[in-house]
């Protein structure tokens, strides 16, 4: 990983406060094509909030977002999608009463002749991508509330992957999954990396971080502790950053 040239995403001095509490305080992170950057920290460290400024769910109070070196303004999820930023939320953000195809295309429906929804086309496309991501998936007609945790996760992932994402945000994608399904997600991340996507991965499991990420950015109390190349540090280094909020290099 050379990390030369223009980063795919640069978040510069992002700050956001809720009722006087600084959830994110002048944090800067970046992401290169074909790279996985882990975002780590305790609950409430500000990882999800930071990332929501990129996915358009929140609007930052201060700071700039650069995509491919160009400054952009992201006011809502639609803007983020316009920049090929796709997000898999921890909550999955699925409408439980709708079927897989309706969820996959939510907000970006395929419109047929006469301006009406082309449901059959959407179902056919969903079948196609699901056969690639999760060949065991068969429940296309049921609302997603009838699906298992892993199946729901694959719907959320399919939604992010289908629309040619360049930048993928994954908020604890394996938190609700069994070992086999987690392995499938890990393989998918490797495959997407090869295709040149940049991935922000919010992850609590330190083993997954060491296995999947190229770099790790650690946050504590809304501030960035530091960003390290995973190859250069040990698990303990990262853990001490998370727990103590100190950069291991300073103690060396």
């Amino acid at each position: 990983m050379s990390n030369s040239g223009t980063p795919l995403v640069e978040l510069k001095d992002i700050s956001i406060a809720f009722g006087g509490i600084k959830a994110v305080d002048r944090v800067s992170v970046d992401l290169y094509p074909g790279e996985v950057v882990g975002l780590l920290g305790h609950n409430g460290a500000g990882k999800s909030t930071l990332i929501k400024c990129l996915s358009g769910a929140y609007k930052a109070d201060a700071g700039d977002v650069y995509i491919n070196g160009k400054k952009v303004v992201i006011n809502n999820p639609r803007d983020a999608r316009g920049h090929n930023i796709e997000t898999i939320y921890q909550t999955l953000a699925l409408a439980d009463n709708l079927d897989a195809a309706s969820n996959l295309f939510l907000g970006r429906e395929i419109i047929g002749p006469g301006g009406f929804l082309d449901d059959s086309k959407m179902e056919a496309e969903t079948r196609k991508i699901m056969s690639r991501l999760n060949p065991n998936f068969t429940k296309f007609a049921e609302p997603v509330s009838a699906l298992s945790g892993g199946q729901r996760q694959s719907v959320a992932i399919a939604r992010a992957v289908y629309f040619d994402a360049k930048i993928l945000i994954m908020d604890e994608p394996t938190a609700a999954l069994g070992p086999q399904e987690s392995e499938m997600v890990a393989e998918l991340i490797q495959e997407l990396k090869k295709q040149g996507l940049g991935i922000f991965l919010i992850e609590h499991d330190i083993h997954n971080v060491m296995k999947l990420c190229d770099r790790a950015s650690v946050m504590k109390n809304g501030q960035l502790v530091g960003t390290k190349r995973v190859a250069d540090v040990t698990e303990d280094d990262i853990l001490s950053m998370i727990i103590l909020g100190k950069n291991p290099r300073e103690s060396h």
Partner: protein, 437 residues
């Protein structure tokens, strides 16, 4: 409402004949349940009449025709209430809105327009209808704006609306009743002249039959195109035939209800012929045709457009809908504006049928509309509801009411029964959903 015997068969013996039949035809068991309940109510009232009054008055063309007209206004509003409830809101103000909209249209027709365009001018009813629709839509949009953009709970906004609009209806004419409305406007409420007659009804019926065939055909074509599982041919044929039989049956029913002798005589005198003893069919009443048109349009809106999809997404998970880039506030505002438009249509029918606008018009309608939507399977938790269910729900409510009137129950007992049926229907629905899961 649900037919427990079929749902039991569907869940407990998947190899059973009934279950095979249901899965092959893809018939909604909830729909069967509602039809079963309706059959029970209709048959029950008729039988009661046969046994205790020596005359079964319920299953007669005359009563069923009247029932269809009475269902129109509640049914039209219930289709809009489905969307309101699906987005996890409620609208308590529709009854009062009927009052104020009908009043504004009445005043326009009787006290304003005759001075401007002349008494009995052809354009009066058109201007009144358009103004009514605008007033209704604006009131609905105002509710929607307060709910979506000012974040006041729908319950409070529309509870306020319930009182405000009823008060406005009274103030607008100082409590007077405005009557009679324009003669063409009155046709929108039904009655012998406000029906399309035998030939017109057959035309409507033929169009509907073509529509059914087209829906079955285009559905099959789409499945073939994408290699989805097809319904067996016999099931397609069965559904088409059931659809056609229902339509033709309805046409024959409304055509077998003749104009009363007095009306025939009056009409004969008007056109200068002696029609004494002639059988002139009512045919479909205009408000019923409006209800059908609204039902079809709303079904298309809900199932085939982005707007409909977003309404259901918001009901299922508002946060997910927002994260998917849906402007949830704008959709909510539009839902309430649409409810206002539909309420205006209902107000047109109600005041036309009464041939007058009174400030009490539509009192308690909100409760019947909500009950119709809920009996029709709309979940108060949001995210679930069907347009045809709401219309059938309105028919169930109206059947109960008019049935009790026919057999001579007074209004106190009517309310007790309707109230109990509502609670019981929702209970059955909860049982049904548990069984399905």
């Amino acid at each position: 409402m649900t037919d427990t015997s079929t749902s039991k068969a569907a869940t407990k013996s998947p190899q059973g004949l009934i279950a095979r039949f249901l899965s092959d035809t893809e018939i909604d068991t909830r729909l069967l349940g509602m039809l079963g309940a309706l059959a029970l109510i209709w048959g029950g009232f008729h039988l009661y009449g046969v046994i205790f009054n020596n005359f079964g008055a319920f299953l007669t063309p005359r009563n069923l025709w009247n029932l269809s007209v009475q269902t129109s206004s509640i049914g039209i509003m219930a289709t809009g209430m489905v969307l309101v409830i699906v987005t996890r809101n409620i609208d308590l103000s529709v009854g009062s809105m009927i009052g104020v909209i009908a009043m504004s249209m009445g005043l326009l027709q009787v006290e304003v327009l005759p001075h401007l365009v002349g008494l009995g001018h052809w354009s009066i009813w058109i201007i009144a209808v358009i103004c009514g629709l605008i007033v209704g839509t604006l009131i609905g949009a105002l509710h929607g704006w307060l709910i979506a953009y000012r974040e006041i709970p729908a319950f409070i906004v529309t509870l306020g609306g319930l009182m405000v609009w009823r008060g406005m209806a009274f103030l607008s004419a100082g409590g007077r009743t405005i009557s009679p409305v324009d003669s063409k406007f009155a046709l929108l409420g039904g009655g012998p002249y406000g029906a399309v007659g035998a030939t017109g009804s057959w035309l409507v019926g033929i169009l509907a039959c073509i529509g059914v065939a087209y829906i079955i055909y285009s559905g099959r074509k789409a499945r073939v195109l994408h290699n989805f599982r097809l319904r067996p041919l016999w099931a397609e044929a069965f559904l088409t035939l059931v659809g056609w039989a229902t339509i033709i049956g309805a046409v024959m029913l409304v055509n077998s209800y003749p104009w009363p002798k007095g009306i025939v005589r009056q009409y004969g005198a008007k056109i200068g012929q002696d029609l004494e003893g002639t059988f002139i069919s009512h045919g479909f009443a205009i408000p019923v045709l409006i209800l059908i048109a609204v039902g079809v349009a709303m079904t298309i809106l809900v199932t085939r457009t982005r707007f409909g999809r977003y309404v259901f997404a918001i009901g299922g998970n508002p946060e997910a809908a927002a994260l998917a880039g849906i402007d949830t506030r704008w959709v909510t505002l539009k839902v309430f504006a649409l409810m206002g438009t539909l309420t205006a249509i209902a107000a047109i029918i109600a005041s036309a049928r009464l041939n007058s606008a009174t400030n009490a018009l539509g009192t308690l309608d909100e409760l019947y509309v909500i009950a119709a939507a809920v009996i029709g399977g709309t979940s108060l938790a949001g995210g679930v509801g069907k347009i045809y269910g709401a219309i059938l729900g309105a028919l169930v409510m109206q059947s109960l009411q008019s049935g009790m009137v026919l057999i001579g129950f007074d209004s106190a007992i009517q309310r007790i029964v309707v109230g109990m049926v509502l609670v019981f229907a929702v209970y059955l629905d909860i049982l049904y959903n548990k069984r399905v899961k």
